[in-house]
Amino acid sequence: MGKYAKIGICILLCLMGAALIISPAMAQDHGDGYEATAASALIPQDTHPWWFWPLLLFVVTFVMGILAVLGGVGGGVLFVPIISGFFPFHLDFVRGTGLLVALSGALAAGPGLLKANLASLRLAIPVALIASTCAIFGAMIGLALPTNIIQICLGVTILGICVLMLTAKKSEFPDVPESDPLSASLRIYGVYQEASTGRPIHWKVHRTPLGLALFVIIGVMAGMFGLGAGWANVPVLNLLMGAPLKISVATSKFLLSITDTSAAWIYMNKGCVIPLMVVPSLVGIMLGSFLGVRLLKIAKPGFIRWMVIGILAFAGLKALQKGIFG
């Protein structure tokens, strides 16, 4: 099969997924008040068969996983906006599921990144402490505020993320003249072997206090919105603190596993995790990203990144609409 045939199949899958997204949104009836007592003796009004929602979630997250890899946009930042924008689930449950989905992606990549010494534990531990603590506060705030306020904030944040993705640069080997006192005393530095040349690359970081302060904000946002914060971690680690891009990307992914763990527990303890949603989404995104990696070896159509950012922006506008107009 030629490479463009495979890309064509990928696009067909996207369209199929899009069609499936639109149909339940039109089929769902909203809030007929009903009286519920115990778990039985209820006339169900949802006529979909039991496998409908898991399968739908699986297909949509599968496509999402492929697009996340091909588009260079984290799956963790796609899940909450798209699912909350186009599915009938309440934002509380979407955020809970979104955190678990982002968490499992980070858990899957973590061991490989750590063993290869690309994710730096020394860099991650202090940062994670700040971020995970603030994620707890973010989750508490996010569950305390009224839903429409959260929707508005989510919409604004997503649009901001889109702008960031379109404008942020990346620095492969930032110039760090000197460590700052904090990172020097914590011995946050390392060396890795640059694969293309075989040379060892020594790296260190600076502006650590400012970086940690930014991670306060990142942690709160991760907890509040259930978004995987890779889009924020990498610029702070790479552009602000000066870690090489490879180290920043790897450490960022690893960091997600810790930040999202703390927030996920808050959501879980508040009852915001629905198993029916979690497993198909988790499996869908992971399998989708694996397939995306295989497709990436064949070709990377440039328009996919634009398309994904466009979908994200659309989801952001939808969140704003839901928040303002209810």
Binding site: V69, G75, K170, A195, V249, A250, S289, F290
Partner: protein, 186 residues
């Protein structure tokens, strides 16, 4: 009768077998195994007549593990030869880089030579296979045969008082058993 012989009569003495420290890198172990397998001491082409495994020793000279061709390949090209977890792990790492638009930083997409050279930095002790059965030099060949098949291995290290004395290979036992056929024809 061949099968009444002892293990020490058929084993390869340890001096003729390739060994490596378990703290050496995979690259050093690979070079040592190539030297032994190719039976060359110069730049001539490889005879491929030497031994196909290399023994790992600790700093006290005790046998701690064994490496065969497959264990080298599994470590050097895990995305192809590795087990399911190694291949999934490689996919997960690649996905992590691609999701940040940094796939050119992804080591799994680098050239094969760069990847292999990097993977060869791993230490022998991290990937060596466990020694699943050993035998004494004064044991009979029948016992050696049983040990080989019971443990499903092809190389049986021979330990004398806990120290490595040699290696008994499945080829040595093949020769011993088929010697019975040559005798019967006479």
């Amino acid at each position: 009768m061949p099968l009444k012989q002892k293990v020490r009569d058929r084993m390869v003495p340890v001096a003729d077998y390739a060994t490596i420290s378990q703290d050496a890198t995979l690259k050093e172990a690979a070079m040592a195994l190539r030297g032994s397998f190719c039976e060359l001491s110069g730049a001539q082409s490889c005879t491929e007549a030497g031994h196909r495994t290399i023994l790992a020793m600790d700093d006290k000279g005790r046998l701690t593990g064994i490496l065969d061709f497959n264990s080298f390949l599994r470590a050097l090209i895990p995305e192809v030869a590795g087990g399911l977890t190694a291949r999934l792990s490689a996919l997960g790492v690649s996905a992590a880089f691609a999701e940040q638009g940094a796939e050119e930083q992804d080591e799994a997409r680098m050239g094969l030579s760069a990847r292999v050279r990097k993977n060869a930095q791993v230490r022998v002790r991290d990937i060596m296979l466990k020694v699943r059965g050993t035998i004494e030099p004064d044991a009979s060949l029948m016992d050696a045969l049983k040990a080989l098949f019971k443990n499903r291995i092809t190389k049986l290290p021979v330990l004398e008082n806990g120290k490595l004395a040699g290696v008994l290979r499945d080829t040595d036992l093949f020769m011993a058993v088929t010697d019975l056929l040559t005798e019967a024809d006479e």
